[in-house]
Symmetry: C2
Subunit: 187 residues, 2 copies
């Protein structure tokens, strides 16, 4: 678990063992079972999560309780309701476990200490955030330029592992189409 986080960081920023020990000391470990909520819409957001293993979904429930998938989070992904986390306001989304998961949790307080204490981890978060922004923009472009069939193709190409692990109804929600329409695309 520790090795995984260290490796994840070192993909972007080389660090010494001491630096890693400092970084690691700010996280706590948690385990969630399928169906459990890490973040609940309407409540506070305590942590930013790093997924060690398992699979999560970031979802939004509208007034009629209909569920929309904003994002998935698999191994090595960082996830939270960022808006609520950084501003310490109530969550507008929920984060739910869809495969038993081990995660590392970072409170906002520890996040700030960490960034102050380590220029390198701050740079890591900056690069991660930029990568996230670029990925979001790609997904927006997909919505603007492509129909359901094309978006599904792009998803298959981009996250082939995900498609194996997630029911199609969730993929449909992620793509912004009804599950029936997605079902008919395959044929």
């Amino acid at each position: 678990m520790d090795e995984q986080l260290k490796h994840q960081i070192e993909k972007l920023v080389p660090i010494t063992d001491d630096e890693f020990a400092f970084i690691r000391s700010h996280f706590i470990v948690k385990n969630f079972k399928k169906g459990e909520l890490l973040i609940q819409q309407g409540e506070g957001v305590e942590y930013l999560y790093y997924v060690v293993s398992g699979l999560l979904k970031l979802i939004y429930n509208d007034e009629s309780a209909k569920e929309y998938i904003v994002s998935f989070a698999m191994e090595d992904w960082w996830e939270s309701d960022f808006q609520a986390y950084y501003t310490q306001t109530k969550a507008t989304m929920s984060l739910q476990c869809i495969e038993d998961a081990d995660v590392l949790c970072l409170s906002l307080e520890d996040y700030k200490k960490l960034c102050e204490g380590s220029q390198k981890i701050q740079r890591f978060f900056l690069e991660k955030s930029i990568a996230g922004h670029i990925a979001s923009q790609q997904r927006i472009l997909s919505f603007i330029t492509s129909n359901a069939a094309e978006r599904y193709e792009q998803l298959l190409k981009r996250y082939p592992q995900l498609v194996q692990r997630v029911p199609k109804s969730l993929l449909a929600s992620y793509l912004g189409v009804s599950r029936e329409t997605l079902s008919r695309l395959s044929s």
Copy 2:
């Protein structure tokens, strides 16, 4: 112009005059007329841009040269083809001026020097990047949960200034609908 940049930074991170002078020295000023290209799809991306005045559009052209609006950039916005800028690869999008604009330009080399030389500006970029990521996620949510009419409403609420300055055909492209459909919504 300098005051504007300084104010923009200080919204997130307080800085001294000396620190600002150091930051400012890494930017160069450019001016663009309506229609001019700051970034051209297929070519290199020299700069990250800070918009002092005017209005830009970040666009993607598909094979049939159809144009899609990925983003607008007005006063105080930071814009580029981030993917191409950070990885120094060819642009997959174009950045075009739609109202005469004054911009401050930051090369990748200067960006890196700046981040190394100033912890504060790095934190500024981190916070800006996070904000951008959150905004993108909101827009994605809008695509997943809402139809054209609702997305237009949300745009009106979020960027009322923009709607005044931009032809509806461009707004339609930004919203991912045809101009005809957008036109019919108003009625």
